[in-house]
Point group: C2
């Protein structure tokens, strides 16, 4: 059972927006055993959309389009779907009522003809009501294949997928099972890991596929099992992961399944009743932003001091000027002082601090570009680690964020 | 002159990572007049890669692949390219020396055979040296078409594109010009704008195409002109934008060309010698993170207090407990106090504060979900605006971030 995703609109092709919808769809479909075989981004032109639909039909059982459903002239997905299914638009009363309700409740200008016409839908489709917007989703069936058209606005699309599309796909198709387990490793490169686990990899059962996902400072190893007996798949994956520990147990720091590392940190903090704050220099609020992106973060995340400027480290965090003059802002001593002070300011159990030179220029410190100090305070203990994350601004920052998450995760696993 | 991008690897299809490479490539290619006609994400399997290359050849002059160049077993792009071009792998001495240098300089374990073999390249390709990694890019030519294979790691890919691929494409092809101009509007929906500018839109010259890009709280209008006379295109676009002011001048807040709104804010702050700080509650450091993502931000951005917990608003920012008890944390008074205090703490010219209920539950305030207060302090003035951004956590947060950027931008344009 497989699917293809077609995203419609020039804004993706010219790079004005990043396509985040496809990753969301890929994840949700996988969870219910539907394999995404291709994602295709195309222009908002009738003949191109039709060709893409025809091609997708040759590859997939389920074809999902996103985008091109707005009320304005550049959006023509709906008319093209009519042509493709040899259909015509008819007014859908329930959709019209929904659009009128959305306007009454959330939009501060009168409803227009263009909005009302969003209730004109192909007669052969089932309308999927959009909880957060005026463009409905559409569900078509043709020759045993299912076509779903979704709006492009991410949170509208997500609600339609979770509330309407996924339940309908579950009813409509018998699906195999897909089981993923992703092992988080830190500290060794992709090829060094491959070298150490060669024997293990060669002995993996046929129904399990392995992929290496290197990213800055960590390599994730993804095991994917496909088949009809879910228990067998889970058992096979768990046994393989267990035996992987005999080869690289020292660098395995955890697993990422449904949950990202920040979500796992959040669960542990909530469970243990511990609180967290950050003091960030060159990471500029990225750590705080990641922690607060997790729903329920208010249970443990108290806040952050982003002391981007050296003056802010002194005036807001209270790091003594002498200490900075003596050791420079990028130093073990400053990282230690930052983390101690932020922990006291927010009265938390745990705090983390970052200070470093991400480049491209050296700024207020003579430390080599790529030099990063990360400080962690836990109860009465404070520790600082020094790193060199290389010579590229984006890489240095992302590696520091990943390393900070790893260090917190590590600390929580051991305490 | 057009291009197709093929991204290779299951991690995109199963939604484990979001494809950000394609947006970057789309933007860079557009800048030099190359139109991206399709982006295709496929599995890491030989027959699928070959079929995708064949199909892309029917649509595009330039075919760019990303991903599948790592040293491990799941990466087979290189072998597949050999098959596609009827070629064989040979050791490239310059690439080998480069890999050995990268290992010596940045990687803390010995070089392995798997890494050395990354220097085995198809004999017909030109190797493009990867400044930040061990996987080289590859450039092929066949029947007047160009094929470029790039590694999937974003910062490695970006450097290869800027330093190697773009200069070579510029040399290789005569290209038309593509001129984009994007008008930023705030405060009206897509359909209301379409209604107001219908006459203007109907009178656009044939060589200019209009697209509506709605996102939370703002609609961007993108004008795209294509042709061989760049001066004429620029003139046409500028005249159309000028006449657009007669229709919706009141909601046009600026333009987005090369530069995002945060980059434009950064330029104005730098030019005027003004400094900025933020006090963030439910936005959790997202504003700080956006401001510090702009290179050169240290010239104006001093820092942020992320006071996520109510206790942090009192203990770290110093908002009086009485004020919170009397008005609740989500109130005009608290937003005003937050912004005044953070401005003093960081000694800046400008400060911005956010407090609100993003949901899904109400938290420490009884304010309705979606209620947001944004405070701005500029020199001796403080103003607070109240908003209701609806009923979806992600939407409320993103709308508040967008609105904050708009308010700062507006303030700077008027002062």
């Amino acid at each position: 059972m497989n699917a293809e995703i077609i995203t419609i609109g020039d804004e993706i092709l010219i790079g004005q927006i990043t396509d985040t919808n496809s990753a969301f769809l890929g994840k949700q479909l996988n969870k219910i055993g539907i394999d995404v075989v291709q994602i295709t981004s195309i222009k908002d032109e009738e003949n191109i959309i039709i060709k893409a639909l025809e091609d997708a039909e040759t590859r997939a059982d389920i074809i999902i389009t996103t985008g091109g459903l707005g009320p304005t002239k550049d959006d023509l997905t709906k008319h093209t779907l009519c042509k493709y299914f040899n259909d015509e638009l008819v007014m859908d009363q329930k959709t019209l009522e929904h659009i009128e309700m959305i306007f009454k409740k959330y939009i501060n200008h009168p409803i227009l003809e263009a909005n009302r016409s969003q209730a004109n839908l192909p007669s052969k489709c089932i309308a999927l009501q959009n909880k957060y917007g005026t463009a409905p989703g559409m569900w078509f069936e043709k020759d045993e294949k299912v076509f779903v058209s979704l709006p492009g606005v991410p949170f509208e699309m997500k609600a339609l997928v979770n509330n309407e599309m996924i339940p309908r796909l579950k009813d409509r198709f018998n699906r195999p099972f897909i089981v993923h387990k992703t092992v988080l490793t830190y500290g060794l490169g992709e090829s060094a890991i491959a070298d150490k686990i060669e024997e293990w990899e060669n002995n993996l059962p046929d129904f399990i596929k392995l992929a290496y996902l290197p990213s800055l400072g960590r390599v994730r190893l993804r095991l994917t099992a496909r088949g009809n007996d879910e228990d067998l798949l889970i058992k096979g994956v768990n046994e393989s992961v267990k035996s992987l520990h005999d080869y690289i147990g020292d660098i395995i720091k955890g697993y990422e399944d449904e949950n990202s590392i920040e979500e796992q940190i959040g669960s542990i903090l909530t469970e243990k009743g511990l609180s967290l704050a950050t003091a960030e220099s060159f990471t500029g609020g990225k750590l705080a932003s990641i922690f607060t992106s997790v729903p329920g973060a208010s249970a443990y995340f108290k806040g952050s001091i982003v002391s981007y400027a050296t003056s802010a480290k002194q005036e807001v965090l209270g790091v003594p000027e002498d200490l900075i003059t003596q050791h420079s802002v990028v130093s073990e001593e400053v990282a230690k002082e930052m983390v101690t002070r932020v922990k006291n300011m927010f009265s938390t159990d745990i705090a983390i601090s970052t200070t470093g030179n991400a480049g491209p220029t050296k700024g207020d410190s003579d430390a080599e570009i790529g030099t990063v100090f990360i400080g962690i305070a836990f109860k009465t203990k404070v520790m600082v680690e020094k790193f060199n994350f290389g010579n590229h601004r984006e890489r240095v920052t992302q590696k520091a964020v990943n390393k900070s998450l790893e260090m917190i995760f590590d600390l929580l696993s051991k305490n």
